[in-house]
Every structure is written in structure tokens, then in C-alpha cells.
Amino acid sequence: MAIKSQEERAISAEEDIILVRNSVKRVTALLNFSLVNQTKIISAASELARNTLEHGKGGRAIIQLVNDPDRVGIRLTFEDHGPGIADINRALEDGFTTTRGMGLGLGGARRLMDEFVIESKENDGTTVSVTKWIEKS
């Protein structure tokens, strides 16, 4: 898999969630994702950016346009150096929340995207990476 382009956005305030969404939207439109898939990707980005801000105490989003021989995709990576997640399996369950959300962030983002990878270490931070692909025509 090759990375064709990359954009980075800091997440340190609520407004940054919108900036992340806008960057993601631009890339999904560029890749010609269907409207439904664009909406899914932007929503997943919004959920994960909010997690980075609220649970991770801020961090950054990396938005990548990725390329395989037969497909292109968008990969979103959210990194924070917050408290980390003690029990990842539990955090992936719907309804698990420690803040004011619905607790759908991680599990929801996983359902909306094709690939989902999470790494977390207590007191060290969390990295979530999600990818959605589109077949080359």
C-alpha cells in the first residue's frame, strides 16, 4: 500500500473537529466515494476526532489518501497521548461512555469503515486508524 498524499490536523478544541471533518470531506469527494460512503466516513471522522479531544485530551488527525494496485482509499489516524484505554473490548461496546456522548464513538466508527485498528496503552495514549476503500474502475 502506497500513501499518495497526507494532511495533518491538530485537535485541541471543538472547532478542530469541524476542520477535520472538512478536510476528510474534501478527500472523500476527490476519491469519488458515493454520497452515502462520504457521509459515513465524515461521521466516523467526527466520532473519532471527538474521542481524541475528550478522552485523549487532544492530539492530531492524519488524513491519508492511500493506494493499492486495484483500489484507492482514505485512511484516518487519530493519535493522542491521553490516559489510554484500560479495557479496549469494553470501550468498543455500544453504550460505553465516560463523557457526554452516546458511547457509540469507537464501535460506531468501526461499523462505518472497512478497516479498524486500535492501539492503546494506559497512561501513554491511544491511536485509532480507520480505512475505507473504493475499487478502481
Partner: protein, 135 residues
């Protein structure tokens, strides 16, 4: 701070969400709306989200809370204009919006609100209880 305008139209309040609905604006809307419902004795609230390109779980929660709070204040809330792609996405995301009334267009939403307000003043709100008796 940016705020979402709330228009009064008879007994109904109209809210069109067109800005990028970030968290603070969403929470401010919830407060402004409950205040106006009480101050103006509004009987219905129409929330138009046709300009929104996405609804995440936080916004879903705020919209659901607005509907529930309105109901506690003797006011009905109807959500109109949801884009089909958003309906698909929030279902997959797990946002249920249980108990929220919806209509496809603002016009249909106003009709629904007027029906709900009318049937309430006609005393038809106990329809469920009547059905239970019939069994």
C-alpha cells in the same frame, strides 16, 4: 458566539440548522429553545436539518434531548429534511433517536405538528388507553 435563529410562527417555533453544527452551538440551541418554548408558550417545534451533511452521535443525542425536553414542556418536536445518506449512516452508527417525530419536508412537518396539537386539545391523547380497554 454564533447562534441558531429560532422563528415563531403561530404556536410553532421554526429552527433551521444551516451552520456547521458544532458542540457549543448545539448545546446553546437546546437552551435557547427550551427558554422560548416556555416564554412564548409554544406548542410545537419544527427542526429542519436538510442543510446538514452529517449527524454524529453527539448531535444525535442533542436532537433527541431537544425532543424529550420539549415534550416535558408540553410541546411537540418534529425533525424534518434528513438526508437519506444521514439516515443510513446514523442507523449504522447506532443513533436511534427513539421517540422523535419526523417528516420528510417542512410542510409535512407543520401538518404533523398541527395534527398533534389539535388532537391533544380535542382530548384524543388517551387513544392508547382506549385501545387497551377494547381488548
Amino acid at each position: 458566539m454564533e447562534r441558531i435563529p429560532i422563528l415563531k410562527f403561530g404556536d410553532i417555533l421554526l429552527v433551521t440548522i444551516q451552520v456547521d453544527f458544532h458542540d457549543r452551538i448545539a448545546l446553546a440551541l437546546q437552551e435557547d429553545l427550551t427558554e422560548k418554548i416556555v416564554n412564548l408558550s409554544a406548542k410545537g417545534v419544527l427542526i429542519d436539518i436538510s442543510a446538514l451533511e452529517m449527524v454524529d452521535s453527539f448531535m444525535g443525542r442533542v436532537l433527541g434531548n431537544i425532543a424529550k425536553t420539549s415534550r416535558l414542556l408540553d410541546c411537540y418536536a418534529v425533525l424534518v429534511g434528513m438526508q437519506p445518506a444521514i439516515a443510513i449512516t446514523i442507523t449504522e452508527l447506532g443513533v436511534t433517536l427513539t421517540g422523535i417525530h419526523t417528516a420528510l419536508t417542512a410542510e409535512a412537518g407543520i401538518d404533523l405538528l398541527n395534527d398533534m396539537i389539535k388532537s391533544k386539545s380535542n382530548g384524543k391523547v388517551h387513544a392508547k388507553r382506549q385501545v387497551a380497554k377494547w381488548r
